[in-house]
């Protein structure tokens, strides 16, 4: 829209953000909690006059410095770089709204660096009380960085009253600010325990290893337990759509939540059993496993937070594809190609249709979908869709699936996008959906080279549409020179209707008997593959299937209600039952 799209069709920007962000948060939270851990580890060493513990603390401080100051700080800058490349519009908004929040964070980052260097390089060379104070300066600065970033990240999910008044402080202290701050603080402390556990596993002195393993185990376990109420509070303050997504209407979020739960439980077991009860079990492999669990736990939390924000990059402000909500109406009226800045060809003609379709894909879909990549691959997802189904789906995409942004543009642009997705990618015929001459166009494209319409009407005119559809599927049996019709069910019906009445009368566009396969293609195929449905419905009775079509939301809240007629529901039921019996 306002910015160009960095287009790497098989990789996708989202994957790059996730890669950098998950690794960064794993280290940056350690950078916060680890500061406090170092203070208390050093205090323990001083209190117990234990040089072994002090040596451990210094070693850990060195590891801490190398990991947080290098990898942590540069990946932090890296997130800034990558989000600006992938979603410059949302990044620009965050920078402009919170510029002084970022600037304050920069000051704390500077204090953090100086304090970290002084703490490490002056370990053992400074009065211990002063050295501990330096540790506190470090920890408070690092925690303030978390405090500031937390406000801005929380704003993206729950902008709260900022939406009405645009006030910096209302946006910063947004509804999810405090629960998120509590949750992140305890996650940071938990990770500090996990990292300490890792350093302890490398410790040569058995006594120190056991002592610091138990110490680290208590840290991780205590923080993990303390984080739970904040996690619950966090979910409670989420806006309703986000809550619904988190509570299972999104299968991907549910899967991420399961991974997170597994990671947290495994961590709980490791820290309890191989940390507190039997610290001797802290082998390097066990510590590495604990690290993986920590990464999974925080990774899934961040992933869920990001996913729950969909379809927005900043909730209620800007969609994930950089289109501002307030601009949607204007774009729909005037057309995307006419209103967007970064469009090469603004005219939508027959010649420019494929390139316009590609342009629309890049600008409106690519933010979340790759084209041929392994991450959310739209090529694979559109492979079984017909043009009419795709076109109709695009036009009501946000209503059907809330977490997808609405298509921004005219109907003609939606058709061009549909034509690109199913035509250019999968070689399917492009025909404007719902027009009265769809059958005629199919005829022109597939039959007219050898047949005149009136010749075929003579022989097919009296047959029911269903029978003609059946014939179209086995044209090779009629003549070896013909191939069976390869279009979708709805295309077959349109063509059959045309063949019955080539002049294109009412009957041509409204077949008397609804076709179940066509209805499936138009209403179900976007989310369900026939084979998946067949596997589920194998043991279902017809009555149950028919009843389910009346109340799809009872199966899943994510499914929109099916608003077909009773006849159409019957036809779709027959098709689904047949699919279940003969997959």
């Amino acid at each position: 829209m306002n910015y160009p799209v960095w287009y790497l069709p098989e990789i996708g920007g989202g994957l790059l953000i996730a890669l950098i962000a998950v690794l960064h948060v794993f280290v940056s939270h350690f950078a916060v909690g680890g500061g406090l851990y170092l203070i208390y580890a050093e205090k323990k060493g001083l209190r117990e006059h234990n040089d072994g513990i002090l040596a451990f603390t210094k070693r850990h401080a060195r590891f801490f410095l190398l990991l947080t100051l290098v990898f942590g700080s540069i990946t932090g800058v890296g997130i800034w770089f990558i989000i600006a490349l992938v979603n410059p519009a949302a990044t620009s908004l965050l920078i402009h709204i919170f510029v002084f929040g970022w600037a304050v964070e920069w000051v704390f980052f500077l204090v953090e660096i100086v304090a970290a260097f002084v703490y490490f390089y002056m370990f053992g060379k400074m009065n211990p009380a002063t050295h501990l104070k330096v540790g506190w300066v470090y920890f408070i600065s690092a925690w303030m960085s978390l405090f500031l970033i937390n406000g801005i990240i929380g704003f993206m999910l729950t902008p709260g009253s900022w939406l009405e008044n645009g006030n910096f402080w209302n946006g910063f202290f947004n509804p999810s600010f405090w629960p998120s701050l509590g949750l992140r603080t305890f996650i940071a402390l938990m990770l500090a325990g996990v990292y300490g556990y890792l350093t302890a596993s490398f410790c040569q002195q058995r006594e120190v290893r056991l002592t610091m393993t138990r110490f680290s185990g208590k840290w991780a376990l205590g923080a993990l337990v303390a984080a739970l109420p904040f996690a619950w509070w966090y979910v409670v303050v989420l806006p309703e759509p986000a809550q619904k997504l988190v509570f299972g209407t999104s299968p991907t979020i549910a899967a991420a939540a399961q991974w997170g739960a597994v990671g947290a439980v495994a961590l709980l077991v490791i820290t309890l059993v191989a940390g507190i009860v039997r610290p001797a079990l802290n082998l390097r492999s066990v510590a590495a496993l604990a690290m993986v669990c920590g990464l999974i736990t925080i990774g899934s939390f961040e992933w869920i937070r990001e996913a729950a924000r969909r379809p927005y990059a900043i909730n209620e402000v800007i969609y994930s594809n950089m289109i501002k909500k307030e601009e949607l109406e204007r774009i729909t009226e005037q057309g995307y190609l006419q209103t967007a800045v970064w469009v090469e060809d603004r005219q939508l003609t027959d010649q420019s249709r494929p390139t316009a379709g590609e342009e629309l894909f890049i600008q409106q879909c690519y933010a979340c979908h790759t084209a041929g990549g392994w991450n959310n691959d739209l090529k694979a997802q559109t492979a079984r869709m017909s043009y009419p189904a795709m076109s109709s789906y695009i036009k009501r995409i946000h209503e059907v699936r809330y977490f997808m942004p609405p298509f921004a543009g005219t109907d003609a642009e939606a058709d061009a996008l549909a034509a690109y997705l199913v035509g250019s990618w999968h070689g399917k015929e492009e025909a404007p959906a719902g027009t009265e001459n769809a059958g005629e166009q199919l005829f022109d494209a597939q039959c007219a080279a050898c047949h005149a319409p009136e010749d075929l009407t003579e022989s097919l005119g009296g047959l029911p549409t269903g029978e003609i559809v059946d014939l179209l599927g086995r044209l090779d049996e009629i003549s070896t020179e013909m191939e069976p019709f390869s279009g979708s069910g709805s295309e077959a019906v349109a063509l059959a209707a045309f063949l019955r009445v080539p002049s294109g009368g009412e009957e041509a566009v409204a077949p008397a008997t609804p076709d179940g396969e066509m209805l499936f293609a138009d209403n179900c195929a976007v989310c369900h593959a026939p084979e998946d449905v067949a596997a589920v419905l194998e043991s279902w009775e017809r009555g149950a299937v028919r009843a389910a079509l009346d109340d799809l939301q009872a199966i899943s809240e994510e499914m929109p209600p099916y608003d077909g007629t009773a006849d159409e529901k019957d036809a779709l039921t027959d098709y689904l039952i047949d699919l279940g019996r003969n997959p």
Binding site: N2, Y3, P4, V5, W6, Y7, L8, I20, L66, L69, V70, F71, S73, I74, T75, V77, G78, F81, I82, A84, L85, P88, A89, T91, S92, I95, H96, I97, F98, V99, F100, G101, A103, V104, W106, V107, F108, F109, L110, V111, I113, V114, A115, F117, V118, Y121, M122, K125, M126, N127, T130, V134, V137, G166, F168, W169, V341, W342, E344, I362
Partner: protein, 358 residues
Amino acid sequence: MATLYIPAADTIPVAWGWFQFFLLLTFPLHLLAMNAMLGGLAVGVGQQFIGGSVRDRLAHRLAVALPLVIAFAVNFGVAPLLFLQVLYGQFMYTSSILMGLFWISIVPLLIVAYYGAYLYDFKFSRLGGAGKWIGLAVLLMLLTIAYFFVNNMLLMSLPEAFAGYFQHRAGTMLASGEEVFPPRYLHMVTGALAVGGLFVALVGQFRSEQDGELAAHARDVGMKVFFRLTLVNICLGVWYLLSQERDTMLLFMGGNRGATAVFSLALLVIVVILVAAYRRRLAVTVGSVVLLVYLMSFMRAWLRSDYLAEVFRLDQLAVVPQYSPLIFFLVVLLGGLIVIGWLLKKTAAALVESGASR
């Protein structure tokens, strides 16, 4: 006229002058830290290649300082990048996308270079002769990062080139083919290497009590490097100036009163610097260089404004006033500086007390 593709700017919370002030206040700090990093490393590696006891000792001191100056070069880079995005985000985000593949590669390059620097520091003695090759590899990575930065800073000022996006959607565009690019890059890097020489001289002074020979050698090498490279850089600066379009060049020669005044003052400071450096007056040279870097940054800002003048002026940015966050920032900045002062004071006291240093 070809179609221009320029995104609309977002609103700002306080008058643009504040952001320009913060940008011009912090950017020279980044330049000075970056110069110490690049130039210090180059001299250190060079010393190690030539060989000899005192040169190795100097290279070691510079290797110890390297991770610290990298940390500050990065940190001092964050603030100006922030303020630049506030003022010129619509241009900078666009140019970053046009060269996206190169721009994002800065992140892994910097991580590897940074770890290389720590390896070069922590294992200096154990690495022996291999260390200089690691130092050289780090230096080349940092020069590559500088190459990408100069590319982006130039590309963002050339909105007429933005249409090239449609041939480079994967982010493979660079501005290095522009006539002004070679002198701009060379002027920047040579300046960094020269100022790095001063950093070498300063590092040596911190060891003057423990190792007088090292201090004298560092001062000698550092000042020599600075003086010679500054002479080269004056020639490069002239080339850079002449590579500009005539109207742009004339800005600094009477076309704009402020730009001309700053340019004239900079020329005067250069003369002072050359004389001071020739006479090995370290303190005067360092002070004048800091002033010069600020003056050069002001000139650079004028240059950018002029490049973009036909499509954008800073006073076109819409202000939706909210001053309390600015006050919050100023208070925290002051508090942060006090805390840093306390940290440095305690460190210095501890070093004096223990009589030890690394």
